[in-house]
Amino acid sequence: MPSVLIPGVLRAEAGGVSRLEVSADGSLRAVLDELGERWPRLERRIRDESGALRRYVNVYVDGEDCRRSGGLDAPVPSAAEIQVLPSIAGG
């Protein structure tokens, strides 16, 4: 069962926890779809309504930047650890 690590600034949208277990695996898209069903306020901070990852949010699957491994199609093994991190941005 994959787990999703939640950064501190988003934990309020995930019931205050730092780690969520999800049942979906196979692709990052499937994981985010499940987040959207169960924690919609969290998911829309990671993806916009067109389905695209937000520009300044980085998602790593087992330490690999998803943007270098297929984006939303990045493979997610059943025991994967998915880390959501805000990128360096802002002023």
């Binding site: 600034v9 988003l10 919609p40 306020r41 829309r44 901070r45 990671i46 916009d48 309504e49 067109s50 695209a52 937000r54 300044y56 949010v57 805000p86 990128s87 941005a89 802002g90």
Partner: protein, 360 residues
């Protein structure tokens, strides 16, 4: 009565309160680090409500509502504004939140980047895209200014819910008379000096439009060069820039109850965005823009460089009217006497993006 001034900045929302509109208590930042491009008071119901467009540079935009003057904020589980499937668009920023007139107590409009108009019938919690404007055949040709392509002005008619006027940067003024089913450009007489044809049907870069308090068919518009008045509901526009020291600027605000009285903050030019003569002055007209008078008593002396953005000048609903403005230098000024004298509400805030005031 308590007066409340909402100050949206690049890095948070500040709520200031006053009993006399001269001395103010300013809150710490709500939503610290988030840009607040739009804020509104909705005083139509039994309790005053504050609606804020909250924009995270990382995590996107949202609209949050407080029904206890900022003590707590609510956000729905589902996104308040979301483009429907098939549009292949995403809300980038909420630029305007506008409660409708008294005939529609639950209706709130929102304007976004990209240029889209949204209607809420549940008090501003959730919104639906007004499809006819999104599908308008002009939309592919709407441009984008430095601030992006956005509907930043929404003026629902106070007595006729079917009539709404909106404005967008590098698109112009549009209006509907059938509740949003059909939309037409309304820019006749407004110059677009930056286009090969300076008098196009649309494409003008409107910065702000205000509606006259006494005559709902009378509008005042500050454009990207050009200050205009319409006395026929937007059918045509005529220049009222002659009495101002410059025709460039961003905001335009109207008196809450007296017709013909408006305020403006002129800047030198597009290429020289600073107050004319480096003086911190608001200009007021009491005759619909025919003549203008500077107002600066109590405002900073000496060379003054900061600018006032399109939504950072407003009036309240008091009598006499209060006038407020904030600058990109993080200063906020208030007048309790229609601009005759000014006091400082706050300084050293982040860049002020918008201000709104109401008696609460």
């Amino acid at each position: 009565m308590t007066h409340m001034l909402a100050i949206g900045t690049q890095k948070g929302l500040f709520l200031a309160t006053s009993d006399d509109r001269r001395s103010w208590r300013v809150s710490s930042a709500h939503f610290p680090g988030h840009a607040i491009y739009a804020v509104a008071f909705d005083t139509r119901g039994p309790v005053p409500r504050v609606l804020a467009g909250v924009d995270s540079s990382h995590f996107g935009p949202s609209v949050l509502i407080s029904e206890d003057l900022g003590e707590t904020w609510q956000e729905p589980e589902a996104a308040p504004l979301a483009f429907p499937a098939g549009t292949d668009a995403a809300v980038e920023r909420v630029w305007q939140i506008a409660p409708a007139g008294p005939l529609e107590p639950g209706v709130v409009y929102a304007g976004t980047q990209p240029s889209a108009l949204w209607r809420s019938s549940d008090g501003g919690r959730t919104y639906e895209l007004i499809r006819a404007l999104w599908d308008h055949p002009h939309r592919p040709e709407w441009g984008a200014g430095y601030g992006g392509q956005a509907i930043h002005t929404i003026l629902p008619h106070p007595a006729d819910p079917d009539r709404i006027l909106v404005a967008m940067s590098a698109g112009g003024v549009y209006r509907t008379a059938d509740g949003g089913e059909t939309w037409a450009a309304a820019n006749r007489g407004i110059k677009a000096y930056f286009l090969p044809d300076p008098w196009p049907e649309f494409g003008q870069c409107v910065h702000k439009v205000a509606r006259d308090a006494a005559d709902p068919d009378r509008y005042y518009a500050q454009n990207h060069h050009g200050v205009y008045r319409s006395t026929d509901g937007g059918d045509s526009w005529e220049s009222i820039a002659g009495g101002l020291p410059s025709d460039f600027g961003f905001p335009m605000a109207a008196h809450p109850s007296r017709g013909g009285t408006i305020w403006n903050f002129p800047l030198v030019s597009d290429g020289e965005r600073q107050p004319v003569d480096l003086e911190c002055r608001v200009f007021r007209s009491d005759d619909g823009g025919e003549t203008w008078q500077p107002q600066h008593k109590g405002l900073p002396d000496g060379p003054y460089y900061p600018v006032v953005l399109r939504d950072a000048l407003c009036t309240d609903d008091g009598a006499p009217a209060g006038v407020y403005f904030g600058t990109r230098a993080g200063e906020v000024f208030a007048s309790a006497d229609e601009g005759e004298t000014w006091s400082t509400v706050a300084a050293h805030l982040p860049d002020v993006l918008c201000v709104r005031a109401a008696g609460v």
